[in-house]
């Protein structure tokens, strides 16, 4: 049944009158809370409690990681440097959280995500799954940042999403941090790529993922 011209115009008018909606943040939180409550304990129950031992263990291990890495990372809140780029990266992250924008290829399999970029960007991005470390690969997508098509890899961490944006670049630089509107961004250049890691997660976890990406990429 082919659509008439009128039907096409009608469809467009309907979509304008009844646009696709975004679920209110309150609803997202309610659903997540309800799901956490409904899920069986074991791995998930501890997340809701204030300070169970696992948190302490995690905090301790992260503190060690942070301590050991301070020299290499030189994490400092530098707003000035790379300011416009940071804004672009943040825009990419926020856009990715809008309906239907997160992933173009949804797969936790790095061997599916990596080849997906073939022919879409003019480089072959290193893709790793860090599920074993608590950062499962969710998928990838194309984006446009810094005046060029780039690869975005999406990782999960508990209920949070992390975007890892990367594109080819020469040279190397230490890890730096930018903060915008409550989002932390860690970025560096190494092994032929510039990386930006962005999320609403705390700095410690972003550093942990950063460390994983850096070890995998070298």
């Amino acid at each position: 049944m082919s659509e008439t011209d009128f039907e096409r115009r009608l469809s467009a008018a309907i979509r304008e009158e009844m646009p696709p909606l975004r679920a209110p943040e309150e609803l997202r939180q309610r659903v997540r809370a309800a799901i956490n409550n409904a899920a069986t304990p074991k791995r998930w129950a501890w997340e809701g409690r204030p300070f169970p031992t696992r948190w302490l263990a995690l905090a301790a291990s992260l503190a060690l990681v942070a301590l050991g890495a301070t020299a290499g990372w030189q994490v400092a809140a530098r707003r000035a440097a790379g300011g416009a780029l940071a804004d672009e990266v943040l825009a990419s992250h926020v856009r990715s959280l809008m309906p239907g924008h997160l992933t173009d290829v949804l797969s936790s399999d790095q061997h599916t995500v990596k080849p997906w970029f073939n022919g879409k960007v003019d480089f072959s991005p290193p893709v790793s799954d860090f599920a074993a470390n608590g950062y499962p690969l969710i998928g990838g997508r194309l984006d446009y940042v810094a005046g060029r098509p780039i690869a975005a890899l999406v990782y999960g961490r508990r209920k949070h999403l992390i975007n890892v944006l990367l594109w080819p670049a020469a040279g190397s630089s230490a890890v730096r941090m930018e903060t915008r509107q409550g989002y932390h961004m860690l970025h560096w250049t190494a092994a032929g790529y510039t990386y930006w890691v962005v999320s609403d997660l705390g700095v410690a976890e972003l550093q942990e993922l950063t460390q994983l990406v850096r070890s995998a990429g070298s």
């Binding site: 009128f6 009608l10 979509r15 009844m18 646009p19 696709p20 909606l21 679920a23 791995r43 936790s108």
Partner: protein, 180 residues
Amino acid sequence: MESSELERFEAMVLPHLDAAYTLARYLTGNTQDAQDIVQDASLRALKYFGGFRGTEPAAGRAWLLAIVRNTVRTWRERRHFESADTTFDEEQHSEGIAADDPAVKLDRKETRARLREALAQLPDEFREVIVLRDVQELSYKEISEVIGAPEGTVMSRLHRARQRLQRMLARGDRAGERVI
């Protein structure tokens, strides 16, 4: 539920909360009810997720939307909610074929107001296919999964829904000032 299963649920189903909310909102006409329904539907989805075998992200969407649709229906029954047309019947609502009607100026402000009114008055069975197709841009196959009816039914119901809207708009245009 195993944590890996929970992660699969979060990856396959939770990304479609917006679609779920959009459908619930346009079927109920009310933001608060829509939120309650989506929350309820998400929990039902979690409960029945073990039986869901889809792997494609789009399959998660159709699956969740089907649960939202059923939740809306249950919720209506529970509240004795009178939908716009509770005695829907395929035959009764079959309409004669309306020709393409260029006289209906869809960009006129008055026509848009009537379109809103006409959409609000559509029987649920028509409005849901309009929302799924025109607003959420699902394929006929996906819609057929959501509403549990064959694709042929989806197509004919969609066609009649549009005819009905068209007639309501055309009637209004002719009753008001002449627009041709």
